[in-house]
């Protein structure tokens, strides 16, 4: 699916630009985006180092083990394929809590860390495991208690009550999270049946 989407975005853009006689925007756009991607990766290095450093302290201090013991029933339910007391559990709890607290740039490093832990128990290294798909689904559903960015742009636009949407975002993202968990389960079952055949 990802191959098809990628091809569609490229091909549709290039054909349309050619048809409209603006083919030069393709080259410009491609080069500037490629440079922008490198800039973004470099920006990521700093926050990655910062949060992975803090995570290491939390790990050695036993903070992560404490949280993962507290929340292990939930994680076991969501990720049945992870063995008990595996470090992936703690990492998953960290990224989900960072997501919920709306920690912005802390979420990405923690998410990657959790994915790396899951990769260590993945059998086929190029293919996303069941647990990885579930984690990605939870992260893309983006459950946040305090959507700080939106509140900020609302008050910048002169809203009388910038936070009035918080209730709505909570209900909607909770609904989306639950639906995504269900969809993920169904897809997983479908794939398992297909593989067995």
């Amino acid at each position: 699916m990802i191959n098809l989407i990628w091809l569609f975005l490229m091909a549709a853009g290039i054909f349309y630009a050619g048809w409209q006689g603006r083919i030069e925007v393709v080259t410009q756009g491609a080069i500037s985006a490629a440079e922008g991607a490198v800039g973004l990766s470099f920006k990521l290095i700093g926050v990655m180092c910062l949060w992975l450093g803090i995570m290491k302290i939390a790990e050695l201090a036993g903070i992560i083990r404490f949280f993962s013991r507290m929340l292990s029933p939930l994680i076991c339910f969501l990720f049945p394929s992870i063995p008990k007391n595996h470090p992936a559990m703690g990492a998953i709890i960290m990224v989900l809590s960072a997501n919920m607290l709306g920690l912005g740039n802390a979420v990405t490093p923690l998410g990657i860390k959790a994915m790396q832990e899951l990769q260590s128990i993945n059998k086929e290294k190029e293919k996303a495991s069941d647990a990885m798909c579930t984690l990605l689904a939870l992260c893309t559903a983006g459950f946040t208690l305090v959507p700080a960015t939106i509140i900020a742009i609302r008050s910048a636009a002169g809203s009388i009550n910038p936070t009035e949407i918080v209730g709505a975002t909570l209900i909607v993202s909770l609904g989306a999270t639950i639906s995504v968990i269900i969809a993920d389960r169904l897809c997983r079952m479908y794939y398992q049946i297909r593989v067995r055949r």
Partner: protein
Amino acid sequence: MFSLLTEQLSLWVIPIILLLVPIVGYFRRVKVYEAFVEGASEGFYTAIRIMPFLVAMMVAINIFRLSGAMDVSIDALKPILELCGVPAELVPLAIMRPLSGTGALGITTEILNTHGPDSMLGRIASTVLGSTDTTFYILTVYFGAIGITKPRYSVFVGLLGDLIGFVGSIYICTKLFN
């Protein structure tokens, strides 16, 4: 009151974490400075590993946007989505949301400025932005960092989440703010 509280909360969360974790670590006899450096040293390689994935995704999305193909797809989808009760002004946001975080933020800011943040459109756009995430960015970065090239069904599930977030925002906002 609530506004002030959330504002203060989002200001304080990160400093508090940056303070508490090292303090707890210190009292549990962790060599905090050395541990930090050890953890941070992984950061560089991880970020570099993401680069090719980000280049691939951002180039495709940028070509799609700049060529005008995106505007055409938005125009094509408008009548279909309007039949389902989606306001035409929100269609660009629906298309942009999974592709580009900054792009979606830009569209939302524009909606807030033209229609007003306290209008129904402004509220829906804010809710959409708050309850969905940039699926393709997360997919690219998370799977890129560990070298996953076959994401299986996760693309579908992620986009489904965005769709539910979008439709749900319209539904909940019209119920809640009437």
